[in-house]
């Protein structure tokens, strides 16, 4: 058995796998783990998105991986450089949970807002979302196998799932 190399994607980070590696990001709560995939070339990209929109950014140099509206086009661009065809990309995503519940605190809805924002940007770019495991009130760790196109999702209280 060949050991598959795993590329770790940190929080507010994105990476591309172009030679059969797996992409993995851990402890997604309200954050969204987005995967874009070119089936034909077996090129995959993953972003760990933290916030819905860069319009709320107050930093001088924006980290594109952090915001949904910059991460999706940023990831497409990175994958294009590795030889992926933007017209062929499909998307899968997981995360966007609401870990804690409070009355009236808007910041607590950040998970669902992240999911909505990613969907909107995908639609604008004409990328089809083929599968998702989002929402709920629990954390997820995800791993995407760029050879098979399967996204493995693990959680503490709900076991393992594949989409």
């Amino acid at each position: 058995m060949n050991e598959v190399a795993i590329l770790k994607v940190g929080m507010a980070d994105m990476k591309v796998a172009s030679s059969g590696e797996s992409l993995r990001t851990t402890g997604l709560g309200s954050c969204v783990g987005l995967v874009l995939y070119d089936v034909q070339r077996r090129i995959a990209g993953m972003a760990h998105i933290m916030l819905p929109s860069s319009t709320i950014a107050r930093e001088n140099r924006i980290n594109p991986a952090k915001y949904a509206d910059t991460a999706v086009p940023g990831l497409v661009e990175m994958m294009k450089r590795e030889g992926a065809d933007p017209g062929r990309l499909i998307a899968k995503m997981a995360g966007g949970a609401q870990m804690f519940h409070f009355a009236g605190e808007d910041v607590m809805r950040i998970g669902p807002r992240n999911v909505e924002s990613v969907k909107q940007v995908l639609e604008q770019l004409g990328i089809r979302l083929v599968a998702e495991d989002t929402g709920g009130n629990y954390g997820r760790t995800v791993e995407f196998d760029s050879r098979t196109g399967v996204l493995h999702i693990r959680s503490v209280q709900h076991g393992v799932k594949e989409i």
């Binding site: 709560g29 309200s30 916030l51 930093e59 870990m99 519940h101 959680s155 209280q157």
Partner: protein, 206 residues
């Protein structure tokens, strides 16, 4: 991220003292609840990349029991009381007289007990801080989660998220009696709260 400008070392000391007083009070409350000695370490204050915050409690995938309160008032922020499962089980055993509390699948009763512990500890941390600074600070209703540390703590980083990829964490570790099982108080004031905290304590801001 340039958070402090002048006097950065002195300001870090002030924050360490905030942790010391707040967590000291909370540890005393915990000690009364358990009727046992609770020890704590000198707080650490650090500006950490998001990735490394969860490392403080064993890494993003470590399953922890966390009670979260949002701090509201003059210096808003996020506060977590975090324990390993073993520590949480023991707390429940002592407080509820149950021998079989087993995470991660806690009963409603156990979860609400953990929430209440968080409420008491968060309240004592903040009331001592309010006394010290003369500011109005109060906790929201607490919320408890048993899950991956990364998923939980990311909630405390959102306010810093719009400014950069680091957050300032005031971390106080405590021990129950002579056992080595440890827990943490994490206080992550919102970026806007620092000037207010410093001003209230008479730290020159220039």
């Amino acid at each position: 991220m340039e958070l402090f400008g002048h006097n950065a070392d002195f300001k870090m000391d002030v924050l360490r003292e905030i942790g010391n007083i707040g967590a000291g009070n909370a540890a005393t409350a915990l000690s009364r609840l358990l009727d046992k000695k609770v020890n704590m370490k000198v707080p650490t204050v650090s500006l950490l990349p998001f990735e490394q915050i969860a490392e403080r409690v064993g890494g993003p995938e470590t399953v922890v029991v966390a009670v979260y309160v949002r701090v509201i008032g003059d210096a808003p922020g996020n506060m977590f009381f975090i324990m390993g499962m073993e520590q949480a089980n023991r707390l429940l055993n002592v407080l509820l007289g149950m021998e079989d509390a087993q995470g991660p699948g806690y009963t409603e009763m156990e979860l609400s007990t953990l929430c209440e512990i968080g409420n008491i500890l968060g309240g004592s941390y903040l009331s001592s801080l309010a006394d010290l600074t003369g500011m109005r600070l109060s906790p929201t209703v607490p919320s408890v989660a048993v899950d991956m540390a990364g998923a939980i703590l990311s909630y405390g980083l959102l306010q810093f998220g719009t400014m950069g990829d680091d957050a300032l964490l005031i971390d106080t570790t405590f021990f129950e009696g002579d056992r080595q099982a440890e827990g943490h108080f994490f206080f992550i004031p919102d970026p806007e709260s620092f000037p207010r905290l410093f001003r209230s304590l008479g730290v020159p801001m220039e």
